[in-house]
């Protein structure tokens, strides 16, 4: 096949084909193509929320599955997330204007003493890719940072990350603080990080331990849909 035949002109594709192509382009981390695709769909009259969910979120969901299954690794996911972010850059102001439905809001950060943030950043990007609003507190957060942000942002989900076995126990300090203030049940608490496991998540009173960024997104979605039903 020559390059000529191989090349795809996005604007000539039908909506359905274009969306599929965008899933592939996200998978391959092709930022310029994602920007172009988003603009074409908007020009064709798609609502920003439809572009977000059907093209970007669905594309990132596929990336998430292959990350979870050990087919893609951090570099590929970062490239995909960067492409997604570029597309989000166009959609974000439009979404705000059109009052699109929200998935939920997460406050996330690494705990006090822990300065390792690659995993946390990945979760943050994948959550945004799934349509969540993310408030990233960065690294080395004492309990009061989380509590303040949760209240101020009216968040639904608290995400805590630790890479070190020495900083893991601090997650319990934060959860205990939430309990002491009587607000523990207002939030879904998700924890993650290389040395953690399910047993640990249970022991400290988190709602769930998430093995990786993809699992974090799935878990957050499950909890949010449960919440909707309960309200």
């Amino acid at each position: 096949m020559s390059d000529e035949e191989d090349d795809i002109v996005l604007s000539e594709l039908s909506n359905e084909e274009l969306v599929q192509q965008m899933h592939d382009d996200l998978y391959d981390g092709l930022k310029d193509e994602i920007l172009e695709g988003v603009n074409i769909l908007l020009e064709r009259g798609w609502a920003p929320y439809k572009v977000l969910t059907e093209a970007l979120v669905e594309g990132m969901r596929i990336v998430g599955i292959d990350f979870r299954d050990g087919i893609l690794f951090v570099p590929e996911v970062l490239l995909a997330a960067n492409a997604m972010k570029a597309g989000m850059g166009i959609l974000k102001p439009l979404l705000a204007e059109t009052g699109a439905p929200k998935q939920g809001k997460m406050v996330i950060g690494t705990v006090k003493g822990d300065i390792h943030d690659i995993g946390k950043n990945l979760v943050s990007m994948m959550m945004e890719g799934a349509g969540f609003e993310v408030v990233d507190l960065g690294i080395n957060n004492p309990a009061e940072n989380y509590l303040e942000a949760l209240e101020k942002e009216d968040a639904d989900i608290l995400g805590m990350s630790a890479l070190l076995t020495t900083t893991m126990p601090y997650m319990k300090v934060v959860i205990d603080e939430l309990k002491a203030k009587g607000v523990r049940d207002n939030y879904v608490v998700l924890v993650g990080g290389a040395p953690l496991n399910e047993e640990f998540g249970k022991a400290i009173g988190a709602d769930a331990y998430c093995r990786d960024a993809a699992v974090a997104v799935e878990t957050a979605k499950e909890y949010m849909s449960q919440r909707m039903h309960n309200q």
Binding site: D3, D6, D7, I8, Q20, Q21, D24, D25, Y27, D28, L30, E33, I62, D66, D69, G70, I71, L72, F73, V74, P75, E76, L78, L79, K112, G113, D114, I115, H116, D117, I118, I139, N140, L164, T165, T166, T167, M168, P169, Y170, K172, A194, P195, N197, E199, F200, A203, I204
Partner: protein
């Protein structure tokens, strides 16, 4: 002149490395969030005690207390301007303890990751990374380290930068990756790919291998992958002492001295010559490993089944090497780039 480690390896089949720096320092009162490297000045006696404990337990190689000693790590403690003095001091303390021992002890200058993502997936350029590692490496050698020892690295780009720094300094390098994601590193590097990579580095490591990661079983599977791909290489195995468990508000590793002893002999049979422990490994573990290695009659390469039965199951079905088909996703015709 060849370095001391090379010379010692000419007379010995295997060497015992040391145990966990972090785990042991926390037991001495280091608090989460504080930089262990600052203890080279604040509590040098405790660092001496750490090294002495390893030597007394049988370690032939000790790592300096400088894992987080690049400017990128130290800046999180506002100590980025102290790279030289901190690393030099780390090496001096280890040298002093090593030289006082009644047998030859190798001082390896520990270098850990910057914690930054390198180009192409992140912002840190190769040149900046090389400069950071060079600054750290020079200070370690100046303080008396025999070799440089990179640990817990996950990306090819970062290891290439460390190797270039070692080449610029003219120092011997030992280099291990952490294979913690389904048998690969976080960045997707497999054991066989890492073995193949060695010739591409500016300074070819004297020894390479795996440290930390998931558990002893996974680490041995990685060692088997490395020794299969590079049968003549000097391979390093430095596994965690089991899996971290949450007990009474603190984290404890569940690996016993007995299981670490078993791991050590299996590592030897898998072809590793430099064998030690990472997180959770304390002096009783090292003593048991030393005794086991001294009494060990070399055996056949263990099968995965043998490893699983001895040390527990693997964290993933395969590790991306060998005949196992690499799963891929069917997609539409791939777009032409550019």
């Amino acid at each position: 002149m060849t370095d001391r480690l090379t010379r010692l390896l000419e007379t010995r089949d295997w060497l015992l490395l040391d145990g966990a720096t972090g785990t042991n320092l926390f037991a001495m009162g280091l608090e989460a969030g504080n930089a262990p490297e600052l203890w080279n000045f604040d509590f040098p006696d405790r660092i001496r005690a750490l090294h002495q404990g390893f030597i007394d337990s049988g370690s032939d190689v000790i790592l300096t207390n400088s894992f987080g000693g690049t400017s990128y790590r130290l800046k999180l403690h506002d100590a980025q301007g102290r790279v030289h003095e901190i690393n030099k001091r780390a090496a001096e303390i280890a040298r002093e303890v090593a030289d006082a021992a009644d047998r030859e002890i190798i001082v390896a200058g520990s270098i850990g990751p910057t914690g930054e993502l390198l180009v192409p997936v992140g912002p840190l350029t190769h040149a900046d990374a090389v400069a950071a590692f060079e600054e750290q490496g020079r200070a370690l050698i100046e303080g008396g380290a025999d070799v440089l020892w990179a640990e817990t690295i996950s990306s090819q780009e970062e290891m290439a930068a460390i190797a270039e720094a070692a080449a610029n300094i003219g120092a011997t390098l030992c280099a291990t990756l952490s294979f913690d994601s389904a048998g690969r590193t976080m960045m997707g590097v497999t054991s066989s790919a890492y073995a193949a990579m060695q010739d591409t580095f500016a300074a070819k490591p004297l020894a390479f291998g795996a440290n930390c990661g998931t558990g002893a079983s996974d680490l041995l599977r990685t060692v088997l992958g490395l020794t299969e791909a590079a049968p003549d290489a000097i391979v390093i195995a430095k596994a965690n002492a089991g899996i971290p468990k949450y007990v009474d508000g603190a984290i404890e590793y569940d690996g016993t001295p007995e299981t670490m002893a078993e791991y050590a002999t299996l590592a030897r049979d898998s072809g590793a010559r430099l064998i030690g422990g990472c997180c959770g490994t304390r002096n009783p573990h090292l003593k048991a490993m030393r005794a086991a290695l001294e009494n060990h009659t070399p055996g056949e390469r263990p099968s995965l089944e043998t490893i699983r039965n001895a040390l527990g199951d693997f964290s993933s079905q395969d590790d991306g090497t060998g005949d196992a088909p690499t799963p891929t996703r069917e997609r539409r015709s791939r777009r032409r780039r550019g």
